[in-house]
């Protein structure tokens, strides 16, 4: 186990921009026979080195299943997932997941949470501690290193979690709706903040969301997913200059064009699942209608 981990961590250092992940013809079917449910069907895409790829699709469309497969918690029923050409088969330090719900350990202080990865690998070195301090400063939690997660606000918890992942210098960072459940104001601040972090580190990142504005603001490339069983419906490149500011995006014509296109694709997908009686999709259609009326 340890030797493999060392191999993985040396691989982590190899490229400053992180690794490239290829997902080729991946399908995932749960259950068997009459009870089989196909969640992902023949799905292919790549996460380019150093780029931020955002995946967006109707709720319940199998995005989290794809993430669990990328992370190595589950295996595809067919198809292949490779990282720099090597097959992904189980969780590894090269792919770090920031989960939907805060997965900070409630029994550890902010600092101990951040140092968990290095300590698990036996790397509790002065350099690593200095790096932890640097990251604490970067995520603005200097004064909160001894606090337990329950004593932090939602936004602070997410930032602590980002720091806990980044200290391991993962070759790929996977974020599963990281800002879901935050209030609108905090969410916006976290998006700006996260965008700064990404622009500074530029590592291969896979970001899953249901929020189109968030997707356009952050992405180099957007994958629009179909309804379940999920497939890539469209790929939209977002060639807006960095560093980006939220205000620029709302007033930018290109961004608005991308938004209209993405929304109409998402709307089609949502209507399909609405026709199949999905409650989540009905909510989406409602929200969509409101948004259109506003504009």
């Amino acid at each position: 186990m340890n030797i493999q981990q060392m191999a993985q961590s040396s691989q982590v250092i190899s490229s400053p921009l992180g690794s490239q992940i290829s997902v080729t013809n991946v399908s995932k079917i749960y259950g068997a026979g009459d009870f089989a449910k196909e969640v992902v069907r023949d799905c292919s895409f790549t996460l380019d080195r150093g780029k931020l790829t955002v995946m967006i699709g109707p709720s319940g469309c199998g995005k989290s299943t794809l993430i669990r497969m990328l992370a190595g918690f589950e295996r595809p029923s067919s198809g292949a997932i490779t990282l720099d050409g090597k097959a992904v088969s189980r969780p590894g330090l090269d792919r770090l997941v920031v989960f939907q719900e805060s997965a900070l350990f409630p029994w550890m202080s902010t600092y101990d949470n951040i140092m968990f990865g290095p300590r698990a690998r036996g790397e509790d070195t002065p350099e690593m501690r200095a790096y932890a301090e640097e990251l604490l400063h970067k995520v603005g939690l200097d004064g909160f290193r001894k606090k337990y997660p329950a004593q932090l606000s939602g936004g602070m918890q997410r930032r602590a979690e980002l720091a806990r992942s980044m200290i391991n210098k993962p070759a790929v960072m996977i974020l599963d709706e990281p800002f879901r459940g935050l209030d609108a104001m905090t969410k916006k601040l976290m998006q700006e903040y996260y965008s700064n972090l990404y622009e500074e580190f530029r590592r291969t990142t896979f970001f899953v969301t249901t929020d189109i504005d968030e997707a356009i603001y952050l992405a180099d490339r957007i994958l629009i997913m179909t309804n379940i069983p999920t497939q890539v419906r469209a790929v939209i490149n977002v060639d807006l200059p960095r560093p980006r500011h939220v205000e620029d995006i709302t007033e930018n014509d290109d961004a608005n064009a991308i938004k209209m296109r993405a929304l109409s694709l998402l709307h089609e997908e949502a209507m399909k699942s609405f026709a199949r009686g999905s409650k989540a999709a009905a909510d989406f259609v409602d929200a969509y209608a409101k948004r259109i009326n506003k504009e």
Partner: protein, 305 residues
């Protein structure tokens, strides 16, 4: 990176997440005094006094004033208190007789031994039951079959299995504690959110590290709930054991006082059991709170999870 102003705005809206500096330098003693004063200012102590007054008042009225039909044989509170604090007790047992403390000591020692055995065996067993599905498949059915058998039913076998009078009593006391501890520990492990174990393995932890740093601390709140239950049930199985054999102990006092018609002494034994039992379970809670400060703080903040 710019000294992010959004961050400052983010941190400002945290009403209770005081930064480390804000709480540094408060001593535990000062905190304890502060808490005590808060408690005195809350309605809790006064409601507690009202509760006790109502209970003892009803006892007094029923036995000594109204002399209700079935209550006439019962010792009243004044008789019990007079006997309990008498320098020269009518039935030979009061706070001034050394024998009283010998009984308390013997019982407490038995409970302590049984409780520590139950913890030492029950916690690891519970952890493995929760952690390994295979182990659980072997052990749990046997465990569930034995668990409903009350300690009293074990009395004959306990006497056959163990020598002397001390070990059978400790065994009987141990049993119920052990079930409570093991079962709660197992539930504690099973209650741990899978995202914690996933996060840990994602961060490169080995299976053993996940066990040590996620499973054990994650199950801790349930373990301590189990230990509090365990101390409580230890006291009542102890009394069952002491009623059967032995020469000392509070259960023995109650049983012999019954056969010798010393009713006030029975009540003294009962009240003493209540007090000692309360103290032991408060001690377990205290240790638990001390070990799980993260949880105490989580609960103190009103726990929005």
């Amino acid at each position: 990176m710019t000294e992010a102003s959004p961050l400052r705005a983010l941190n400002r809206d945290v009403s209770l997440g005081l930064a480390d500096d804000a709480v540094r330098g408060i001593s535990p003693l000062a905190l304890a005094i502060h808490r005590f004063l808060l408690w005195l200012r809350s309605p809790r102590p006064y409601l507690m006094i009202v509760g006790f007054t109502l209970f003892i008042g009803f006892w007094y009225l029923a036995v000594e004033v109204w002399k209700l039909p079935r209550f006439s044989e019962m010792p009243g509170p004044t008789e019990v208190v007079r006997e309990w604090f008498s320098r020269n007790p009518t039935y030979g047992l009061s706070v001034f007789t050394p024998e009283y403390y010998l009984h308390i000591w013997v019982s407490t020692r038995r409970v302590a031994i049984a409780f520590f055995l139950a913890t030492a065996i029950g916690v690891p067993l519970g952890l493995f039951l929760g952690w390994s599905e295979r182990f659980k498949q072997y052990v749990f059915p046997v465990f569930e079959l034995l668990r409903p058998v009350p300690p009293l039913a074990w009395v004959p076998l306990a006497i056959v299995m163990f020598k002397g009078s001390e070990t059978p009593i400790i065994f009987l006391t141990f049993l119920a504690s052990f079930y409570a501890t093991a079962l709660n520990t197992m539930l504690g492990v099973e209650s741990i959110d899978v995202s914690y174990t996933r996060a840990a393995s994602c961060l490169g932890a080995t299976r053993w590290q996940v066990f040590r740093h996620v499973i054990v601390p994650g199950a801790m709140p349930f373990i301590f709930t189990g230990l509090q239950i365990s101390v409580g049930v230890a006291w009542f199985s102890l009394v069952a054991g002491e009623m059967v054999s032995g020469q000392y102990g509070l259960g023995y006092v109650i049983n012999t006082s019954y056969t010798m018609v010393r009713y006030p002494t029975i009540v003294i034994g009962m009240i003493t059991l209540g007090i000692v039992g309360y103290v032991t379970s408060a001690a377990v809670r205290f240790v638990g709170d001390h070990l799980m400060q993260w949880r105490t703080r989580e609960l103190a903040l009103g726990g929005d999870r």
